[in-house]
Amino acid sequence: MTRLWMTSARVAGFLLLALTSTATPAYTQSLFNAAGLGTPVDALDGRARALGSIGIGLTGGSMMQTDPGGLARLEISTGIMAASPSWIDYSASNSRSGTFKGNRFPLLGIAYPVLGGMAAIQISSVLDQTYEVTRIGETDLGDGPVRTSDAFTQDGSVSNVNLGFSRALTDWFATGLTVGRFAGNLDRTLVRAYGEEGVAGNVDTYVESGVWSWTGWSLTAGASADFESLRVAASVQVPSELSGTAAADTRGSDRSFSIPVQYRVGATAVLGPSIQVHGSAVFADWSKMQDDLSSGYAKSGSGYGMGIELSRARLLGKDAPLRFGFRQTGLPFAFEDESVKERILSGGLGLVLNETAGFVLAGVDLAIERGRRSSANLTENFWRATLSLQTSGF
């Protein structure tokens, strides 16, 4: 029976590994993608989302790159995949409004016990940069004004491929180190068309485009400590410059951006056999990147989150901890010289699909978030669901 379990678990593990290896860098969506280097995307699982967490200091093990110390708490091989569809409606000061939606996979990862600790490979999202915009104008080509339509499309993202190792040095203290490499591409294309929309004319379109590949490194060190009823964790992510290297046929130049050092702290207190309270915070001063930007404004990206987990809840005869949270973070990039906050109320539950000897072999965490990003001229309200599937023991 044990062999059968192991065989089946390996199949599931390999399946998850295959999914991980074929996944493209993930990102989410927002109109603020058009500001600066885009909108940050947190590589969080469903549990962290539901608790409003920054991604550190949660009880149990953690596959999130933001919590290297939590990796050692996994104890057995684990794979995780998170999917995150979102539905956004927006309204702008110029009376424009609308909706859009999208689905992203912000976290893919697999961990395996090595050298008395846990080693992990993760692909996580960093910045979402996709948007498009059209500018209508006029130009005189000799026979009077002609309508011009400049359609600009930016397609790409920054992601992070991480290799981490974490080890519990004592029963109550674990530390970890993650080395990450920035990856991804950015394709920026401007197409000017002449004449009325839908009317074919003699004047061909003008296309100016550039493709850059993102490179850079990051080093994340962290630790977590368990006290009697308290888990405390902290991490620091020290990135190198984020370098955009232009492709051979790109007229645009190479650029580098100074990604700030990001500090994260988090703690979870077990108030009783069925109640846990969680809080976490991130400190990152993206405004130092302002000098690197040619458009948009760089601001502080600090924030905090807090939540509560009711772990005794059950659903359909299964353990289904209920979670609620609140989170507020600053967007690092804005259109105007003002801070833009993202505020989220969240809720969710976990479903333990299979558990043996205290180890969760298969589980699903679901989070539903209702949030708002608001600046002086633009407000986004969004619903976001995050579903993460975690399997262990392969």
């Binding site: 939606k101 498009e132 920026r188 003699n202 003008y206």
Partner: protein, 462 residues
């Protein structure tokens, strides 16, 4: 990764591999149901919609579009006019002229097709049956004219004659009855030789488009031999000062069937071909551009797209000048020709449709093959006939943006070198005796190149 594909892959593997399902033991059904229940959530969210930024400032840089006119000397050279493409026979219609515009004489020659040898007639008993014993009693030669393309508005007199010398449909001309390799035979009398007069007719365009010549049975019997190369009909116009366009002709035969001798039936014989001969043959223009005619004229020119643009203030405000032009910056390119009055005798009466094709090997002109048309419209660039008469001096643009880009790049999309010689010609060769005329180099309306250049700053990172 596409969301639906990911989910379907997971479910497929879970449902297909029994061993995998055993991972979840007795909870298998619960796992599957849970995944299926969450599937709509993912699927609904999988519809990607790229956010549309609200602010024009999110567009990096502003391209500038300017129109640049390049003079002939900066892009063109070696204009040459070639004639003799095709023959009048290929048009399939005729031209009649007598001292038109003080110069042009034209006559139409036609071959008579085989007569019908059998007809279904009603015999004396009232039954219809085929009758192959027909006695031709007489007939009429009916000519159909193009009332719009013909220049006359009043009745004109026409003459029909039977040719008496052997002539070749494809090579005959005003001077020669046959003009092929190793066989050049002039007409005994220029203009179609001596003909046997068959009568006259009057065509009044106000009454219709047909003219009818009455024929007797003797003449019709002579025309029934289709193997005799001297047999044919020639139509002349008698009244001077007109040019008529003859669309077609046929013969109405009056025949008596043997099965019912009291009845006269009418049969139709078609012409098997037609051509026209004319004089004088126009000389190639020494200083202009000619397109069309029959046989057709083509104008060949060498063309180079300038790789550097300077002294355009709007452009130089955006980029440093002189500016090296790149193919992608050419949004529009056109050769602009200025029409001029064609010799009156050959002035178009209908639209001329121009075509532009690359000359693949100028060294073997006039026999060089041509590349595909550079004009998107399969019917070519249409120019009204007035441009070559009362409204001459019109600028006619012939766009070839794709070619201009390839020419500047030096190769086309397939990587083949782009020919530097273009041929200006009629879409259909030959199409008409008339041709289009344009000003050539070194004249006031010499050809020039019109470019719309769009230049923008390079797209940079934010």
């Amino acid at each position: 990764m596409d969301g639906r594909k990911l989910v379907s892959t997971v479910l497929y593997q879970l449902l297909r591999k029994k061993k995998s399902l055993r991972v979840f033991g007795e909870h298998r059904r619960f796992v599957v149901l849970t995944m299926l229940g969450l599937l709509p959530l993912i699927t609904i969210g999988c519809q990607e919609q790229i956010p549309v930024a609200l602010d024009d400032q999110a567009v990096p840089g502003v391209p500038v579009s300017v129109t640049v006119e390049i003079p002939w000397t900066s892009f063109g050279s070696n204009v040459e006019v070639f004639g003799g493409y095709g023959s009048a026979e290929e048009i399939g219609s005729g031209v009649l002229a007598e001292d038109f515009a003080g110069t042009l004489n034209a006559r139409t020659l036609m071959r008579i097709g085989a007569y019908p040898r059998i007809a279904t007639v009603r015999d004396t008993t009232g039954a219809s049956r085929p009758d192959s014993t027909l006695t031709i009693l007489g007939g009429r030669f009916v000519a159909f004219f193009d009332t719009i393309a013909s220049t006359n508005t009043n009745p004109v007199r026409l003459a029909l004659g039977a040719t008496t010398e052997a002539w070749d449909m494809a090579t005959t001309s005003w001077t020669y009855a046959v003009d092929t390799i190793n066989d050049q035979r002039p007409w005994t009398e220029a203009g179609g030789g001596v003909v046997t007069p068959l009568g006259e007719a009057i065509w009044d365009p106000s009454l219709g488009d047909t003219a009818v010549f009455v024929l007797d049975s003797v003449q019709l019997a002579e025309w029934s031999d289709t193997t005799d190369l001297s047999i044919g009909a020639r139509i002349d116009i008698i009244d001077p000062g007109h040019r008529l366009a003859l669309n077609a002709a046929l013969i109405r035969l009056d025949a008596r069937p043997s099965s019912n001798p009291d009845t006269i039936i009418e049969l139709t014989a078609l012409t098997s071909g037609s051509t026209f001969i004319y004089s004088p043959f126009p000389e190639p223009p020494p200083d202009g551009v000619r397109i069309g005619g029959a046989p057709s004229w083509r104008t060949i020119l060498d063309l180079q797209i300038p790789s550097v643009i300077d002294d355009v203030p709007e452009l130089c405000a955006v980029v440093s000048c002189p500016h090296s032009l790149s193919p992608g910056e050419i949004s529009y390119a056109a050769l602009v020709l200025t029409s001029r009055t064609t010799e009156l005798a050959f002035q178009p009466t209908d639209s001329i449709r121009l075509d532009v094709r690359p000359v693949l090997d100028r060294a073997v002109m006039p026999k060089s093959p041509l590349g595909v048309s550079l004009i998107a419209n399969p019917f070519g660039r249409s120019v009204s006939p007035e441009a070559f008469g009362g409204s001459s001096g019109l600028e006619i643009e012939i766009p070839f943006t794709g070619y201009a880009r390839d020419r500047l790049r030096g190769k086309d999309a397939s990587g083949d070198p782009t020919p530097g010689t273009l041929a200006l010609l009629s879409v259909i060769e030959p199409f008409s005796i008339t041709f289009a005329s344009f000003e050539g180099p070194s004249s006031a309306g010499e050809p020039f190149l019109r470019l719309i250049v769009t230049v923008g700053p390079p797209v940079e990172l934010p």
